[in-house]
């Protein structure tokens, strides 16, 4: 082995690493203090302060001691990290195994001059996270994956920025995040903290009630608030967003509160996802996401694809195949596999709406909404029935097209490192069909329903 004896760079983790270790302890210490403060019970506050100051001091001492034992060493061909007091842990990441370097800085890290560096490997699903100073993080990223020197390929401004924000907004994740954060806040600090928010929501609902019926008004208010929140999150995430590519490295960075910089090794990109969401259909602009090794980002797309304009995506991913029509013959394709969920939902919604017409006419308007949503899901299922399939293109790229709920996915798989699983029920066997699941190294799975069994069994695996 010819490893150099002295590393090119080395150092200790940023002290924020010790706070990271302290995080859970801090929450348990601070919550009783905050509760006593909110109640303004000064004698109990003094008692809690004395008791928890001791616990906190002990935790701080342990975490500082642990922090002093951490470190990293960067060699031209590898990165070594070590940590632990009783149980020593050393990790080595070879540079040739690296696929993506991500540097994230939230307001707290910015205040302390630190950055969280996450390293994603090509052939392992495990990631490595380091807390370094801002300068060390930049130097390490420059050494591992040098940034592109060319001007940005994609820098959304004006109407392009607006469409980018709209297609990046994720209503479901924002709603879940909002619900979890509200519940956690109420559990930790009491219901009084979220009372102003509830009051304002009720006022907004009363305002909406002037226009639409009572039951529907809450739905409209919730949809309006969630959509607004997801747009605001998306707006903050995409501030100053740009994508550049040269020297075999793709650089994406941007974000206001949470600034994120991702350097993706172009040769390690395993798949390129294009999502046809309902908003994307309306705008006729589709978000594009990349997957490389263990990295699979779904928060911010790398760019927005407009039908017919393949030059931008072609410059970023030369092997990209634009979405095309059906690749699968529909003879023998099972309709129930595609339509049973949305069909059942539509039938149930229609039945309930039908009953409500003569039993509860007041809620018929509200029940029309699930009918419309089920009908939309049925239309997407019909599109899936027509278009779903997997095929190797003449350029040896595996293209996979499938639908889930309201979204159609178009995926170009560049890596030959995929696993294929074919599943055939007795009914599918009778007509020579099966479900095909494509597994990627990042753990992502794509299930294509009712494809030709012979073709799936003979689909070339390797390039």
């Amino acid at each position: 082995m010819t490893a150099p004896r002295s590393p090119a760079a080395q150092g200790r983790f940023h002290i924020v690493y010790s706070l990271h270790l302290l995080k859970n302890g801090l929450i348990f210490c601070l919550v009783p203090l905050l509760q006593a403060l909110l109640r303004w019970d000064l004698p109990s506050l003094y008692g809690v302060l004395q008791q928890e100051a001791l616990i906190l001091l002990a935790l701080v001492a342990v975490s500082l001691f642990l922090w002093r034992r951490t470190g990293w060493r960067q060699y031209p061909d590898r990165l070594e990290m070590h940590s632990g007091l009783v149980l020593h842990r050393a990790r080595v990441l070879r540079r040739s195994e690296l696929a993506v370097v991500e540097i994230a800085r939230n307001p707290f890290l910015k205040l302390l001059g630190a950055a969280r560096v996450t390293l994603y490997g090509c052939r392992s699903r495990q990631t490595v996270t380091l807390y370094l100073t801002r300068r060390d993080a930049a130097a390490l990223a420059d050494a591992l994956l040098p940034p592109p020197r060319k001007a940005p390929l994609f820098k959304p401004v004006g109407a392009q920025r607006l469409s980018f924000v709209m297609v990046s907004a994720n209503l479901i994740s924002t709603a879940l995040l909002l619900m979890v954060s509200l519940r956690q806040t109420e559990e930790l600090l009491g219901a009084a903290v979220t009372l102003p928010l509830r009051d304002n929501l009720t006022r907004l609902e009363q305002l909406v009630e002037q226009v639409v019926p009572t039951g529907v008004a809450w739905l409209f208010t919730a949809a309006f608030v969630l959509w607004g929140a997801s747009l605001a999150v998306s707006l903050l995430r995409t501030v100053g967003f740009s994508v550049a590519c040269s020297g075999g490295v793709i650089l994406c960075h941007g974000g206001f509160l949470l600034h994120t910089e991702r350097r993706i090794l172009a040769s390690a990109v395993s798949a390129c996802y294009l999502r046809v969401t309902p908003v994307a259909r309306l705008l006729r602009r589709y978000p594009v996401y990349l997957t490389a090794g263990a990295y699979h980002a779904s928060d911010v797309p790398v760019l927005v694809y407009k039908k017919g304009q393949t030059d931008l995506l072609g410059a970023l991913m030369p092997g990209f195949v634009p979405p095309s029509g059906a690749s699968e013959n529909r003879i023998g394709r099972s309709a129930p596999v595609f339509f049973w969920k949305s069909g059942l939902c539509l039938a149930f919604s229609l039945a309930v709406t039908g009953v409500s017409v003569w039993q509860l006419p007041a809620v018929t308007g509200l029940l029309a909404i699930p009918c419309l949503l089920s009908a939309a899901a049925l239309l997407v299922a019909a599109e899936g029935y027509r278009l779903e399939g997997a095929a190797r293109t003449p350029g040896r790229v595996l293209t996979v097209q499938y639908s889930r709920a309201f979204t159609r996915h178009w995926v170009c798989v560049f890596t030959p490192d995929v696993n294929l699983t074919l599943f055939a029920s007795p009914f599918a066997q009778a007509v020579g069909r099966c479900n095909l699941t494509v597994c990627l190294p990042c753990g992502s799975r794509m299930r294509v329903r009712s494809v030709n069994r012979y073709r799936a069994a003979h689909l070339p695996l390797d390039e």
Partner: protein
């Protein structure tokens, strides 16, 4: 090369599947002796029969840079893996599996792992050799 399940190993796996049923059986015996006996017999019979049929249908093949394994009679599953991306093979032999000249093999690759539960010991060794640098 072709691989298939050994009947003895399928019996061992059937016995493994009997363990959860035997662990649950005291709760049924608590209700009545007859119910407990029916439960134990039903569970163990179903476990042995399912393993015998399901694992008996296992057929594997390493050919043209691809490992392909299919199993199942009513619900058929086929798994395909490119051999050049296989990162490791784990072969497990318990005393009972050794008694029946069988092995449990796990094939690892970045895109997922494949469990081959009841291979003949010779087949398992040949497969391990073929996937880790030997000749198929």
């Amino acid at each position: 090369m072709e691989i298939r399940c050994s009947p003895g190993a399928a019996l061992v796996f059937g016995l493994w599947w009997c363990v959860p049923g035997l662990a649950l059986s005291p709760f049924v015996f608590w209700q009545s002796l007859a119910a407990g006996a029916v439960f134990v017999l039903g569970w163990c019979g179903a476990a042995l029969l399912t393993c015998r049929v399901r694992l008996g249908s296992l057929r594997g093949r390493v050919r043209a840079g691809e490992l392909s394994v299919s199993r199942g009679v009513l619900f058929q599953t086929t798994r395909r893996m490119p051999t050049r991306f296989i990162s490791g093979v784990t072969r497990l032999e318990t005393p009972l599996l050794r008694r029946f000249h069988a092995s449990l093999v796990v094939v690892h690759s970045p895109a997922g792992a494949l469990l081959l539960p009841a291979l003949d010991a010779d087949d398992a060794r040949r497969l391990e050799s073929a996937l880790t640098g030997g000749r198929p």
